[in-house]
Symmetry: C2
Subunit: 328 residues, 2 copies
């Protein structure tokens, strides 16, 4: 990894070299500062190329059939000649050692498809680190010429919000449910969704799935129309990943929505807003990291902290002293 | 306010001058930078005096009888010759214009008591601001010689955590409940509590209150013993603010707990830890405030943010450029 220059890696990624892409993702995942410096140069070089994929966020709780859906959906896209990358944001991976996409055998056919690229979630300590790695991996996949980047996340905590802030479309995959369970969907997540797909619309569960679709469609109509949506969106649709039904229709709706947003300026303005958001987040994180990482600053923080802990100084006065030192 | 020097204010606060105390609290609540500078000097001067009150956090949802409890409990303490200050952390005050302690008539007797000082929650936009103001107001009350500082908060969101990080004892005031409702108490809040007081143990509600006490006592026994607790703590007790029953017992338990913690080093070590925590929080907040407030830095953030939004630069590369400028 360290024997390749960023310029060399960039050239190979732009030529759709899968091994170079995998190496570059390992580089952005690294916590070592020389790797970070290299990753920064690489990403900046690739940014200028302006290659774009359709970025789709996919959220769903365990048991909803996410892997089966991604495999079937991904195979349908590659059959159309599209190149598909699948990434994962799994905030639990640091604890569990990677519960989603840790095992490519869950998507056996797709992982063998030459037009697909599957990358498991790395084991990183904090959600912020996972977010940066995923966002940067998306950029690398775009530079490598993928047409669609799917970002999978589990429906817990803040991971959906993070994913929604790095995608063009956000899809919620749900299971068929009784009328009561509908209320269990957090309003915030409903408001993020561009498309709600109710999976398992097959066999015995089909009637329940159709009722659930109708329930979600009704709930979505209660939400205020967003400026970034054409008439009729967000939508709820039935799919069967198992029987590969409804996948074409779902893809059509995604394309309709993306095209409308492109034509109406929402697509580019959202990407611009997201990029600015991540830039600002990185500056904030970098400022705070200096407190933890610079040995001289840490020593001064400890010294002033001791005086505050002893009651010699007020927290605000010691903080003012520290800020003066930091700001120069 | 601006015509008094911090040294003059400090002298008057140390002499228990209530008007000077009220002015100083207004000073720490101010958002103006010259007021902040003055407040910092004042607090640092008073820190060296080392005066301490017993800081008690009191949390309870609306309807639990918090005002009635504080009035009865406060009057009992002043009758013992103790001086009592009451402050409030109300994160909703920015929206509602102050729903708790906005009206001193809720504690009519206590507010007329010369040994009591009641200060309503200020209307500030963010919880961080309310936290700093409250923490600094506590220090001012301690310097003014109060024996007990009660910090009231409503049982919503993160306000309990903030209050727990600035007090010596944390008391949860609850209403009598059916067995089912018990589970509604968030585990995190149970774990913060040193004492659970079940109010309204009077009249028709008395049997329900006693059952609720037993339920909470059982639940508390399930939690792992904390190093800062003697045997038997945390405890659940019945009180009636209306009939002024159980208040002496509650105060005895608070004193027992505080004395045990003092004797075993937990009291001072917790205060030291809290002071260090607030110092570090202020440094972090100060670093981030510079991004928002310094006009030159804001201009550069906008310029780099524009380049990122246009896709000319990667967020991480632009952030690295900005951090280099900031760190000099």
């Amino acid at each position: 990894m360290s024997d390749q220059s960023p310029a060399d890696l960039a050239t190979r990624i732009l030529a759709a070299d899968r091994r170079a892409l995998a190496r570059a993702i390992t580089l952005v995942e690294s916590g070592r500062s020389e790797h970070r410096a290299k990753a920064t140069v690489l990403l900046d070089e690739l940014a200028g190329e302006g290659r774009q994929a359709l970025r789709i966020g996919l959220s769903g709780t365990p048991g909803v059939g996410k892997s089966t859906f991604i495999e079937a959906f991904g195979m349908m896209l590659t059959a159309k000649g599209l190149r598909v990358a699948v990434l994962a944001v799994d905030p639990s991976s640091a604890r569990s050692g990677g519960s989603i996409l840790g095992d490519k055998t869950r998507m056996e056919r797709l992982s063998r498809d030459p037009n697909a690229f599957i990358r498991p979630s790395p084991s990183q300590a904090h959600l912020g680190g996972v977010a940066r790695r995923t966002r940067e991996a998306v950029s690398l996949c775009e530079a490598a010429g993928f047409d669609v980047v799917l970002i999978e996340t589990v429906g817990v905590g803040q991971s959906e919000t993070l994913v929604a802030e790095m995608v063009d479309l956000f899809v919620l995959l749900m299971a068929p449910a009784g009328g009561d369970e509908l209320q269990g969907v957090k309003r915030g997540i409903m408001e993020m969704a561009d498309l709600i797909l109710v999976n398992k619309a097959d066999g015995d569960l089909k009637p329940a799935a159709m009722r659930t679709v109708a329930d979600y469609a009704g709930a979505l109509r209660l939400l205020r129309k967003r400026p970034q949506d054409p008439e009729g969106f967000p939508k709820a649709l039935p799919v069967s990943a198992l029987e590969e039904n409804g996948l074409e229709k779902a893809w059509d709706e995604m394309q309709t929505l993306a095209e409308w947003r492109r034509a109406n300026g929402h697509f580019d303005s959202r990407r611009a807003e997201q990029a600015r958001h991540w830039f600002e987040a990185e500056v904030r994180e970098g400022l705070l990291a200096r407190l933890r990482e610079d040995p001289q600053i840490r020593a001064k923080m400890t010294e002033l902290g001791d005086a505050v802990a002893d009651g010699q100084n007020a927290p605000s006065a010691a903080a003012a002293t520290m800020l003066e030192l930091l700001h120069g």
